[in-house]
């Protein structure tokens, strides 16, 4: 049917017309501010980071040591109340090279998110962070890394008290 119609009635829309406000829409921005209570386990974890220590918690039932620490073992549903300092070294479990930023800008030097299994924690327990002081092309699964901390005076009890993890030779 459409091939029998040479001219369609109506007015075509361009991106410019939307940009110039010729097409009506309502814009609004949300005042959504939150302040999350960190609680017992994550509160201690963050306090530990401020001191330059990575804390895990231990389940006496399944004998796992997990990081970040929590007050319940998700496998046993038992309370966890022993907090243990772990080392600040570990092994890259997985990583990616991310070529778009948080606010969707394309970048040439990729971001390097990685999960680092922390020494002293049970297998598959690690910290989600970034890698640094490394050529992104040289990163590999299984790579040994160590935390690079902010100077003590600048730490504030946040995951960003660790700047990144860097490769180490052993």
């Amino acid at each position: 049917m459409s091939d029998k119609i040479s001219n369609y009635p109506g007015t075509p829309l361009s991106e410019k017309e939307i940009r110039d406000g010729n097409v009506l829409s309502i814009h609004d921005q949300m005042p959504g501010d939150f302040s999350w209570d960190t609680g017992v386990a994550i509160g201690r974890y963050l306090a530990g980071l401020k001191e330059g220590v990575i804390l895990g918690s231990h389940c006496t039932h399944c004998r796992r040591t997990v990081v970040p620490p929590r007050n319940v073992c998700e496998w046993c549903f038992r309370p966890m109340d022993s907090f243990i300092p772990l080392r600040d070294t570990g092994t890259v479990n997985t990583f990616s090279l991310c070529y778009v930023t948080w606010d969707v800008q394309r970048i040439k030097e990729p971001e390097t998110p990685a999960v680092i299994e922390i020494d002293g924690a049970s297998p598959l327990h690690g910290i989600m962070h970034k890698l640094g002081e490394v050529d992104p092309q040289q990163i590999s699964i299984g790579m040994r890394v160590k935390a690079v901390w902010k100077p003590a005076a600048k730490r504030e009890g946040a995951i960003t008290d660790i700047l990144y993890f860097k490769p180490i030779q052993e």
Binding site: D28, D33, F34, W36, G39, V72, E74, F77
Partner: protein
């Protein structure tokens, strides 16, 4: 084969205006642990499906389901969140059990209202973005307008609404989990500042933090596990058109409809005769009166009178919100309906302590999703 569904365990954490000592996950864990212990179940072994009621904007986290399994014992099990009130969650749990696929289901709801720093701004996001939000009104205005029209149509007085506050906050003194217990005079309530006239600030429930977990089971498991299973005799929910421009402001028709739905299942024809006591929405004091009328317990305009006469007091013929209601216990956001159901369960079990009612066998819990919504739910429970 009988296929009744029962609540076999309850647990809660709170309720306090602020809870800096616990994260929301830790609040949930405390409530869940208590509920599982109460029901005599191990969530890892026995509970087959899990539900939370949560609104992403209240949590500050989208896809909130993702953050719930660990602290409920639900890892590698069916788990989902519904954006609704706690009684919508109870209806969902009831239906899951009714499918025959799940014999034991856990239901959780919580509030970390204290972590919302811009509560008014977040609540305003429930307003229509094109027609209402540009007017930049605090969402409580919806309750002010509803109260005004309700009083106008029914002849209910501001004093009668204030009586609800006096009653519920007095009731809360006997509920150790209720932070807003108080002996107030009618004048003290009426002399408070207005929030959105004719609605006063002292007629509005304050926010609290807390978590509630219920364990729901089929008849076979309920009878095997529990000494006092509380049966879900009927549960209904309904939604009116949300438009502020053309809703019925005075009669909460969605509550009427949800009640009809629940009464039909429970085989109830005369709600006032059949039901011994009720826990109803009182996020704003007038809502208790409006809800009691929508539930068919009283005719329009009568609820205020009988409240003044003491009929709905704890020692009256038809006790309402013996727990203290939301005015006494606080506004638990999505968990409000669970707080209402929790009290009905405790009363029907005979474990409500100093506020225990004598000889109750059927109780009603009703909830509303708060301003600006026109949605609510009703559950009828029996021992």
């Amino acid at each position: 084969m009988s296929d009744r569904v029962a609540i076999i365990g309850v647990g809660w954490s709170g309720f306090r205006p602020i809870t800096p000592e616990f994260s929301y996950k830790e609040l949930m864990y405390e409530a869940a642990r208590r509920a599982y212990s109460d029901a005599g179940v191990d969530p890892r072994r026995d509970v087959e499906s899990f539900i939370t009621v949560a609104e992403d904007f209240h949590e500050g986290t989208s896809i909130f389901d993702e953050y719930t399994p660990d602290q409920l014992g639900a890892v590698l099990k069916p788990m989902h969140t519904i954006a609704g009130d706690g009684l919508h969650g109870l209806a969902t749990a009831y239906m899951l059990v009714k499918t025959g696929q799940f014999s034991i289901v856990a239901l959780e709801g919580h509030s970390k209202a204290s972590n919302m720093l811009t509560h008014a701004g977040i609540t305003a996001y429930a307003q229509d973005p094109v027609l209402n939000r540009p007017l930049r009104l605090n969402t409580h205005f919806v309750a002010g307008m509803e109260m005004n029209r309700y009083l106008y149509d029914t002849g209910t007085t501001p004093e009668q609404c204030a009586q609800v506050v006096v009653k519920n906050r007095r009731n809360a003194l006997d509920n150790p989990s209720a932070p807003y217990g108080a002996e107030l005079s009618l004048d003290e309530v009426l002399s408070g500042p207005h929030l959105s006239w004719p609605l006063g600030m002292r007629e509005t429930a304050e926010h609290v933090d807390g978590a509630i977990t219920l364990v729901i089971a089929n008849e076979e498991k309920a009878l095997a596990l529990s000494n006092y299973p509380i049966w879900i005799l009927g549960i209904g929910w309904s939604n009116d058109s949300p438009a502020l421009e053309n809703r019925d402001w005075s009669s909460a028709n969605y509550i009427k409809d949800a009640a009809r739905f629940a009464y039909r299942q429970a085989g109830i024809h005369h709600s006032y005769q059949a039901i011994d006591f009720a826990e109803v929405d009182d996020l704003y004091a007038y809502r208790e009166l409006q809800s009691l009328e929508a539930l068919g317990f009283f005719k329009p305009g009568e609820a205020g009178q009988v409240t003044e006469e003491g009929l709905t007091h704890r020692d009256g013929a038809f006790p309402v919100n013996v727990s203290g209601g939301s005015l006494g216990m606080g506004n638990l956001l999505d968990a409000n309906g669970l707080a209402r159901a929790l009290e009905v369960v405790l009363q029907l079990r005979g474990t409500a302590g100093p506020r225990q009612l004598d000889e109750v066998s059927i109780g009603l819990a009703q909830s509303w999703r708060g301003v600006p919504t026109a949605s609510g739910a009703v559950a009828i429970l029996g021992n």
